[in-house]
Symmetry: D2
C-alpha cells in the first residue's frame, strides 16, 4: 500500500472542496485561522511518518489534549478516576450542563468538557497549575519526539476570556463535590492544556503509543499498558467526536479524538496513527474536511476496526 | 489457540458465580427461566462451532432480533432508513421517551426500542404482519442454518400484554409522523420478532455474516456487503448494549448486541462470532454473566478490536 | 358598573383586531371554524347574564371540560385523587411526555393532558364509557341550566383519529400503573368529553358554581363546597392556561381555564363568571382574542384577585 | 375579627408541633438557628401590627429579598426586564440549571435563583456592588419603617463560601449573554441581599406596599403603582414558593414569598400583609411551620383570594 500516494490524493481532493465548514468563533483567537489550510500525517507503527499538505503547521489541538491529559491522570490515580467520571457516550453536546444536573455532577465521560475538567483537577491535585500543565506539555513533547511543541499563550488568554460556560460547568461540579482544587486553578490548567499547539506530523507521531502498545514496534515505551491503550481507544470510539461519535464510527470505524481547532487524531490499533487538520467545523464542532479525509483514507486502506482487515494488512507488510 | 479449552474454562468459572443478576420480570413469561443456565458458542469464520454449557437450549433472543431486522430493513430501503432513525448512542435507557420528544420522534439509533419499532414499520410497509415476521424468522433460520428456529408464542403473548411502554413509544412516533403503518400492526411485528427463540449455537452461527463479510470464508453469502457489515458492527459497538455500550466497549472492546432474554451476540470482525447466554440481568438490562464471559474470552484470546490483535491472530492460524 | 357597555365595548374592539391567531389544526374538525367569530358572556353571581357578540354560538369547549370532569372526579374519590395527579404547574407544554417519564407516570396537574386522562380514568372506573360521559355532560347541562348542551360527534371522531399523542401519554401512564381501566376506554371518555359544545352564555352560567360557592347567591347548590371551589380556582390560576398560566396571572390575575376550541372561562370569586371565545390561538394554544378580552375586562372592572378590589366592588353594588 | 387572638392561637399550636422540618444546611451560618423559634406578625392595611411569638427576632430573609430587589429593578428598567427573565413557574427546583440550558439562559421567573441573579445584574449595572446593595437595604428599611434592618455579614460570608451552584448559574447566563456586569460583582450583590436580616414585624410592615397600593390606606406611597403591585402579587402566587407554589396556592390561596431562612411573607390584597417564621424547612426548602401557620390563618380569617371573601371582610370593617 503506497501511503504517500494515498495522502497526496487526499490533499488534492480536499483542495477542491468548496464547503469547508466554519472556523470556531467562540474562541476569538481561533477565528483568525485560514480555512484553506489542510494537512495530513500518517505514522505507521514502524517506519517513516508520511505527510501531505500543511502537515507541519502547528494548530491548536484543543480537545485532543483531553486524550493526553487522561493518559496522565490514569497514571496518577488509576481506576479510581472512574468514580468521578463515567465511560458512556453522553447523547448531548460537549458542553451541556443538563446531564451534569441529572447525574449529580458526575460527567458522562472524560472527553466532554466537564469530564476533562475533572481530569484537570486530578492532574492538579496537590500541585501548582504550571506543574500540572508541564506534565501534559511534557508528554506531548516526548511522544511527538519534538521539544518545540508549545502552549499558544494568545489562545489560552482567549479561552480564559470567553470560558464562562466552562466556568459554569466547573462551579457546578464544585457544588456537587466533584472538584477538589479551586475552580480558577483547575480551569487555568484546562484552558492552557487546550491551547497546546501541534502539527499533524507531531500529533500522528504522538499517537503511536496507542496503536503500538504491546506490539514489538512499541519497544520499551511504557506510557500505557496494552490494556490501557485498548481502553483509551474504546473511549475515543464511543465518545471521541462529541455527539457525532456514533456517526464517525458508522462512516469510518476507527477510534479518534477531535478538537475545535480543526484537528482529528485517529488510531488504527496495531497499524498506524493518523492526524488530519482543517480549521473549518461542522455543526457538531468537528472538522468537516478532516472527517472527510479519514473517510477517504479508510476507503483506500480498509483500515476500519469493524471491517475485514486481514487482506489489507497482508498487502501492507 | 484452543477455543474448546477456553470455552470450557469460562463455563466452569460461571458455574461458581453466586451473583447471577435478576431475571427480567416485566415480561412475565421470561421470569420463569432458570438462573443457573449458562451457555457459550464460538463460531470462527472457518471451521466448526465450539460450544460449552447450555449452548443448545433455545432462549428468547429479544433485542438481538433488532440486528437481524435492521439487516433486512437496510436491504429493503437502503440508506433512506437513516432519515427516520439516527446513528448515535442515546445516553438514556432503552425505552426512554424523553429523547423522542426532544428530537421530534426520530429515535437516536435502531437498537433502542423506538428505533427498532421504526425498523418494524419499514419491514411491514405494504405487507401483512406475518409476512414481515416471516422475513425476520427466515433470515434467522437461514443464517443459523437451522430450520427449527421458532417464535415462542407464549413470550409473544406475554409481551403484547405488558407492552404499554412500547405502545407509548409507538403512538408518540405515530403522532410525530414517523410510523406509516397502524401502531397495532407495527407492534405485532415487533413483539413477535422479539419472541424468536434461538440457542447460543444457532446465534453464533447466524452472526458469522457480520464477521466474514468480504472475507474468503464468507463465500457467496450476500446478506450484507462488507461495507454494510462494518456499519452494523459499528452500531453494535456504540449502541448495542443500551446505556452500557460505552462500558462494554471499554472493558471488552468488541461489537455486540444484547437482549433481556439474557443473550449477548458478539462479532470479532474477520475472526469469529460468539454468543453467550445466562438469563440473569444487571441493572442496565444486560446479562450479568454473559458480559463476564465475554470479558474472560477477550482476556484469553486478545480479541478486542482496540487491542494489539496481531500476536493472537498469528497463534490462531 | 355597566357590564353591558363593557361587554359591547370589548366586542367592538375585537372586531377590529387583525392578528387573530391561528385555528387549531391538529384536530381537523376544529380547523373549519370561522376566525371572525368572537363572543363574551358575563354572569354575575346575582342577576342576569350579560352577553355580547357571538355569545350564543356553541363551540368545542375542549380542555375547559377538564374543569367539570375534575369537579366530578373529586366528588367520586375525594382527596385520594391527589395520589395520582400533582397540583403544580408543569413548566412544559400541555402534551409533554418528558415530565411523565421524569416523575414516573404522575402528571403534574389535572389540567395538562395526562392529568386529565387520569381524571377520565377515575370517572370511568367500574362503569361504561357512556356512563362516565353522561356524568360530565349532565353536569354541564345542569350548571348551565340548559339541556341543549351536546357532544359534537364529528369533533369527537376527529379527535379519535388524530389522538396519537394522547394515546402515547395514556399508554405511558398505563405502563407506570397510573391507569386502572383499559387505555382505549379511558380515551373514549376523554375524547368525547373534550368534544362537548357550549356557548359563552352556557359556559359563563355554568362557571357560577365556582364563584358563588358558600355565598348567599350560591343558594342550595352543592356541586362543590366553598373550600373545594377555592382549590379549583387556585388550580386554574397556576395551571389553567398550560405553559402561559404565569403570563395570564401576571397580565390579568383571575383564575381561568382555556381550551384549544378558543374558549376561556374565568372566575372572579364572589363576583362573576366570565366566558370569552374566539377560535384563533396563540403559540401556547390559547385563544389570542379571548385573552385580550379578559385583559380589557380587568382594565375596565378592576376584577383582579391580586388588585385593590374594594373600590370597584363598592361601585358595583 | 380578633387578629391578636388568632395570632396567639397559631403560636400555641406551633409550639406543640414536633415535626418542625430541618434547618437549611447548605449555608453553614444558617445551620445554627434554633428550630424552636416561631413568630408571626399581621399588618392590616390600616391600624397596628399584631404580633405573637418570636416576632421581633431578626432572621435571614434570604429569597424574600428577591421581592424587594425585583421591585427596585422594575423601577430601574421597567418592562424591559421581561426580555431577560420570564414570568412562568419553572416546574423545577429553585437552583436547577436544566431549564436555563433548554431556554438559552433566560430564567423562567425572577424568583428562582438565576432569575434573581439577573435582577441583581440589573440593579448593579453602571454602579458599584455596595451602591446596589444600599438600594435594596434602603428599601427594606424604608418600607419597614425601621433603620435597624441590617445585612448579616457572617451569613453573607457563608453564602459566598458555599455559593458554587449560584456561580455555575451566573457563569452559564454570562456565557449566554444574559449578564452584563462581571459575575463576581453580580454575585456579591446577590449574596449580600440574601443576607439581609429582618423580624416578622419588620417584614409584615414592609409588605404593606403590596396590599395597600392604590388603596386609600396606601397614602402617598409610590413604591409601586397599583398595577405593578398586582403583578408582583401574581408572580408570588405562581412562583413564590419554588416548586411548591401550586401546592401553597391550593392549600392557602394567597400570594407569598418564602426564603430558606424560614420566613414566609404573604400578601392579602387590600387587606393585610403577614409574615411568619420558623427555621425548619420541608423538602422543597420552605418553612414547614410558617406554611402551616398560613393555613391556620386562612382557616380562621377566610383570607384566600380564591374564596368567598365578602363575608369575612364585612366582619373585619
Amino acid at each position: 500500500m503506497d501511503l504517500q500516494a494515498i495522502a497526496n490524493d487526499i490533499v488534492s481532493r480536499m483542495e477542491s472542496e468548496s464547503d469547508r465548514g466554519k472556523v470556531a468563533n467562540y474562541i476569538p483567537e481561533l477565528a483568525h485561522v485560514d480555512l484553506n489550510k489542510f494537512g495530513i500525517a500518517i505514522a505507521p507503527i514502524e517506519g517513516e511518518v508520511v505527510t501531505a499538505g500543511d502537515a507541519d503547521i502547528p494548530f491548536s489541538i484543543q480537545s485532543i489534549s483531553k486524550l493526553f491529559a487522561l493518559t496522565l491522570a490514569l497514571k496518577r490515580v488509576g481506576a479510581t478516576l472512574w468514580q468521578r467520571v463515567g465511560r458512556e457516550p453522553s447523547g448531548t453536546a460537549f458542553n451541556s450542563i443538563i446531564q451534569l444536573e441529572n447525574e449529580r455532577g458526575i460527567p458522562r465521560n472524560p472527553f466532554i468538557n466537564p469530564g476533562a475538567i475533572v481530569v484537570s483537577d486530578v492532574l492538579l491535585e496537590g500541585r501548582q497549575p504550571d506543574e500540572a500543565l508541564e506534565d501534559v506539555l511534557g508528554l506531548c513533547r516526548r511522544l511527538s519526539n519534538d521539544e518545540t511543541v508549545y502552549v499558544d499563550d494568545k489562545v489560552a488568554a482567549s479561552e480564559t476570556l470567553t470560558g464562562d460556560r466552562n466556568r459554569a460547568l466547573a462551579n457546578f461540579m464544585k457544588a456537587e463535590g466533584n472538584l477538589r482544587e479551586p475552580v480558577d486553578r483547575v480551569l487555568e490548567v484546562y484552558f492552557q492544556q487546550c491551547a497546546i499547539a501541534m502539527s499533524c506530523r507531531q500529533l500522528a507521531t504522538a499517537g503511536r503509543y496507542l496503536c503500538a502498545a504491546g506490539q514489538p514496534a512499541g519497544g520499551e515505551d511504557s506510557t500505557v499498558t496494552p490494556e490501557r491503550a485498548r481502553r483509551l481507544n474504546s473511549l475515543m470510539m464511543t465518545c471521541g467526536l462529541y455527539d457525532a461519535s456514533g456517526e464517525f464510527a458508522f462512516r469510518i470505524g476507527i477510534p479518534a479524538k477531535s478538537g475545535v481547532g480543526g484537528g482529528v487524531l485517529g488510531i488504527i490499533p496495531g497499524v498506524a496513527s493518523v492526524a488530519a487538520w482543517c480549521p473549518g467545523l461542522d455543526r457538531n464542532g468537528n472538522s468537516r474536511l478532516a472527517i472527510e479525509a479519514f473517510e477517504e483514507l479508510v476507503r483506500a486502506t480498509g483500515w476500519s476496526v469493524f471491517g475485514p482487515l486481514v487482506p489489507p494488512r497482508r498487502s501492507q507488510t
